[in-house]
């Protein structure tokens, strides 16, 4: 079984990737890196190639969830034991990739989530976003009976068991908070690890205008549906 693959979803991230990829290379030289180019219209694929990083290009923009899922499916096919997701915008400090993987292995976890709120170091997001994040924290922690502070964090390490599950079942857009609940309810072991995050290195966030309203509503509905499904599944065998 191969060791660790770093999955980087990227949609029009030529600017930040040109700085991020060498950083990751330097931080974890023995890990494989794969950029999932989500139908970018800029030079994302070329930038990856120039940095000597393998890239897989979706034929059109499918959403970050679909991009990451492509990475999971790649990891399943190649038989990696650990997959780490690092967002292409450069907000995730590559220096924390190794601690995430170490925590996953030492703790025999299925999911290690990099949380920017455990030690409150680095970029803490804008107040409005923190409010949204607080809602997810309240809802998800309540459902799982375990405090999860940074549900929107896409900085995560997954065990083979966990990403194999997600390779078949992962939301297309805004997947992070929902996946925490799905995995938690399925009995996967989740723990948060303190990480520092930065402001994006370039490009633009996808969560603008009315999207936050859609984001919150969609994710909370999906979370609720997950809960209902789990409750029904639990009742059926009895």
């Amino acid at each position: 079984m191969k060791d660790v693959v770093v999955i980087i979803p990227a949609y029009n991230e030529e600017e930040s990737l040109s700085r991020l990829l060498p950083e990751i290379r330097a931080a974890v030289p023995e890990y494989d890196i794969i950029v999932i180019n989500d139908g970018s219209s800029d030079r994302t694929e070329e930038v990856a190639g120039n940095a000597g990083v393998r890239s897989i290009s979706l034929p059109f923009n499918c959403g970050i969830g679909a991009a990451v899922q492509t990475g999971f499916r790649y990891a399943v096919e190649k038989g990696y034991s650990v997959a780490v997701q690092v967002d292409g915008d450069g907000q995730h400090d590559p220096g924390f990739i190794r601690p995430l993987v170490a925590a996953l292995r030492e703790g025999k976890l299925d999911v290690a989530i990099g949380s920017r709120f455990l030690e409150k170091k680095g970029f803490q997001a804008t107040p409005l976003r923190r409010f949204g994040i607080w809602i997810f924290q309240t809802v998800n922690s309540r459902i799982l009976g375990q405090t999860v502070t940074d549900n929107t964090s896409g900085f995560r390490a997954y065990s083979n068991r966990a990403f194999s599950f997600l390779a078949d079942d992962y939301p297309c857009d805004y997947p992070e908070p929902e996946a925490v609940v799905t995995l938690g309810l399925k009995g996967f072991v989740i723990r948060e690890i303190p990480v520092g995050m930065r402001e994006r290195l370039g490009g633009e966030s996808s969560i603008v205008n009315l999207r936050p309203v859609y984001y919150m509503t969609k994710v909370l509905l999906a979370t609720f549906m997950n809960l209902v499904r789990a409750l029904l599944a639990r009742r059926r065998p009895a």
């Binding site: 999932i36 897989i56 290009s57 979706l58």
Partner: protein
């Protein structure tokens, strides 16, 4: 007694039926997805022509002016149609994403195999 309302819905229903059959004949609408439309058109025509049926059903629903029941039926059928399309679109978009992923992975695999050939 047949009033204008019934004529209008009869003509509309017949026109809809004709258009649907034409679309199916020219293969621009598949038989599968035409069924719900055909059913709608036939219900509209039936209710327009058979005034007795319209009166009875309207009465059951507590509607004093039977032709307005036609609106209710049309609205209900439109909502069903819209819901049907949303379900179909969901299935199609799930499949197109899965297909895009598959294509991306296969393209990567082809590149890998071609690279090995050269060596």
């Amino acid at each position: 007694m047949i009033n204008q309302m019934n004529y209008i819905s009869l003509v509309a229903g017949a026109a809809l039926l004709a258009v649907i059959l034409h679309l199916v004949r020219t293969k621009r609408l598949s038989e599968k997805y035409s069924l719900l439309w055909l059913f709608s058109a036939l219900v509209m025509i039936l209710l327009s022509v058979w005034r007795g049926l319209l009166d009875v059903v309207a009465h059951i629903f507590g509607i004093y002016y039977p032709p307005s029941f036609l609106f209710l039926v049309a609205l209900f059928l439109s909502i069903m149609m819209g819901l049907h399309f949303s379900i179909v679109i969901t299935k199609l978009s799930d499949r197109s994403v899965r297909m895009a992923q598959e294509i991306a992975l296969l393209k990567d695999k082809i590149r890998e195999l071609e690279g090995k050939d050269k060596r």
